[in-house]
Symmetry: C2
Subunit: 217 residues, 2 copies
């Protein structure tokens, strides 16, 4: 599908509408770069926001976790959720306190998450999860057993009501403030993968594969 | 206050309870290192999860934004919120797909956010916001005008029903899997502040101050 998402009253970016993006390429690029989402759901009128991993396959976002988890048991009923992915790119330092900001890219997804029951589909989704963490990792590791598959709940959220919000570039100060003798600009905040730390119980002679050694997102 | 938070049925970490932390030092350290939170609130039974900046002052978490924003107008009514802060420290690569994980530190805060109306308090909170972005920045920049204060909504969430969740260390594989010839360990994912990018409209001769040049969190 290459058509943009249709903004709804709930997903249309109202404040600073120029930052709103609805094309699939922007949305998918953000989702594919990130790997932690915040899942919002409601229990007894109290909202909960829980961080968790995710993977996207085509037009579906998957979250997973223990079948015993409160969150996944709650969501499995098909309740309404909001899943948000945020990438922070930098701090925007203006000349006025008021115009300080951040450069970021975020995606907000609304809908109902439904459980994935079919064990074949579940296995394919877990492959996507593992490869979303490290490209090609699935082929390097021991695959899940039947018992592990049963102990894992996977929920699917169709990407239908979706919007992205993106801020880039320098600060925007009030015209009069540009004359002030105050340094202004952007501090980039990239995530910089460090050297892999071997498990203390790693067998002698094992070295990190290239997809770990040259890790990037 | 130095007493730990009392876990409630809603904040007690149920899955992997060893990861649950309730002492204020752990909670405050996470909140003071991060600067983006995800605010969850409910409108017409639909949860929304919106990323935004925050600052902590003593036992209160503040979020702010445009007085015109949908989120802040919704929250100002004193509705129930969940505010979550998540710091991702690394990827945990196990020998089995099943035991892949992430090292992270998160704080989940439940309660009712109330508007800060007093302009003196508002100003102090905006100072905390600005200094939470860059230490000491408040003294370097133009302070807010009365009109800017009016255009900014600040909401206060008392830190009462709070829990942290922390995972650190190497993967935990099934005992039999430690014999497999598969590299396992942790890929650290630190945020590495880059060289400051000057605003293209910066006046000649201005150099970044030390708190920007040597930026760290």
């Amino acid at each position: 599908m290459t058509e943009p998402f249709s903004p709804t009253a709930r997903t249309k970016v109202q404040r600073l509408p120029d930052r709103g993006k609805y094309d699939r390429e922007t949305v998918y690029r953000i989702l594919d770069e990130g790997f932690v989402c915040h899942v919002g759901f409601v229990v007894d009128s109290q909202p909960f926001v829980i961080p968790t991993n995710y993977a996207r396959v085509d037009d579906t976002l998957y979250v997973h976790g223990s079948s015993a988890s409160r969150m996944l048991r709650t969501l499995a009923g098909g309740v309404q959720v909001c899943v948000t992915v945020t990438l922070v790119d930098g701090l925007v330092l203006a000349r006025s306190a008021f115009h300080h900001s951040a450069n970021y890219r975020s995606v907000v997804m609304l809908g109902r998450a439904m459980p994935v029951e079919d064990s074949g589909e579940k296995n394919r989704v877990l492959e996507a999860f593992t490869n979303h963490i490290v490209r090609g990792r699935w082929n390097d590791v021991r695959p899940p057993t039947e018992a592990e598959l049963k102990a894992t709940s996977v929920l699917a959220l169709p990407l239908e009501e979706v919007s992205a919000k993106v801020r880039t570039g320098p600060p925007k100060d009030d015209e009069a403030d540009y004359a002030l003798p105050i340094w202004a600009g952007v501090v980039p905040l990239p995530v910089a993968p460090g050297a892999p730390i071997p498990d203390p119980r790693l067998n002698a002679g094992l070295v990190p594969p290239q997809n770990v050694l040259k890790y990037s997102r």
